[in-house]
Symmetry: C2
Subunit: 160 residues, 2 copies
Amino acid sequence: MSMSEPRWLDDAEKAAWIAFLSATSLVGRKLEQQLKDDSGLSHTQYEVLVQLSAVPDGSLRMTELADRLVTSKSGLTYQITQLERAGLVIRRSCPSDVRGVFAEITDQGREALRQAAPGHVAAVRSALIDVLTPEQQAHLATGLGEVARRLRCGTQNPPT
Amino acid sequence: MSMSEPRWLDDAEKAAWIAFLSATSLVGRKLEQQLKDDSGLSHTQYEVLVQLSAVPDGSLRMTELADRLVTSKSGLTYQITQLERAGLVIRRSCPSDVRGVFAEITDQGREALRQAAPGHVAAVRSALIDVLTPEQQAHLATGLGEVARRLRCGTQNPPT
DNA sequence: GACGTGTTCTTTAAATTTGAACTACTGGGA
DNA sequence: TCCCAGTAGTTCAAATTTAAAGAACACGTC
């Protein structure tokens, strides 16, 4: 293993990193708070409902859902249990695989989402979207989209 | 209060938001893991050391530090206690305000940071920086910098 | 058809985070 | 001086997250 001096971040790179880090924390905190205050849902729970409601039959396998939410399986187990207690989601067993479990959004879950969505979207706008010009939005989508894509596939960087 | 239809996100806006959300989780997860694996520090703890080491006398008031880290005061109390146990930080009382507490990085803390930094920077590069072109980095810094700035000052958006 | 390996999800305990309450103090006025 | 609203940090209990271990099953191969 080489002990060579690492490539530190130059000023421009550092600025990008700091901005990303700050914006990430601040936006996350803001939205978490808005959601909990206005709808009693955590951001994780909200995202569960979003994902489930967006899919044809309103249900996804636990593992698939965990991947989409970028969360651990045990963490999802916990959250689905909470949502199930609240009546917003139910568990169904998978016909083709006895081990499998579907999380399915209930009507009540869809209703909760309907009620929470406007406030959440407004908060997303006020914290992030409406702060950026359409060009900046596009740049963000391109750049961070690529970042996300690579991390998802475990893809390596092209050789420098 | 108006019950008017909220302004939903159009496709471009949604793409930006999704990219931000995904990149945020994935990068955060990646770095958290790298840091813990390679240095035993959580990202929060790492950031505490970074902030303290960056300041002239290596010490900051608890509240100031909590603000910089975008974390709660009780959360910081917990982490500083952990870092103090590990010998990487010590608490000092503030001369001018009996209630005040300084967190100060120790030599051991600086050393821990020195050891953790190269791996962390490499991970930041591989997850984010080196994925982006210099132009994209600049756009990111500008856009998200503005996002962070507004959230920090609790500034409202300019009227649309 | 039995095996061995890899999945799927849950359970568990420990670590961390959160928000509310609490302690102790500051600072400015009446 | 005395009072009092506001601050600084901590404490506490509850909620959440994490990693590791476990239980049950799927699947390809022999």
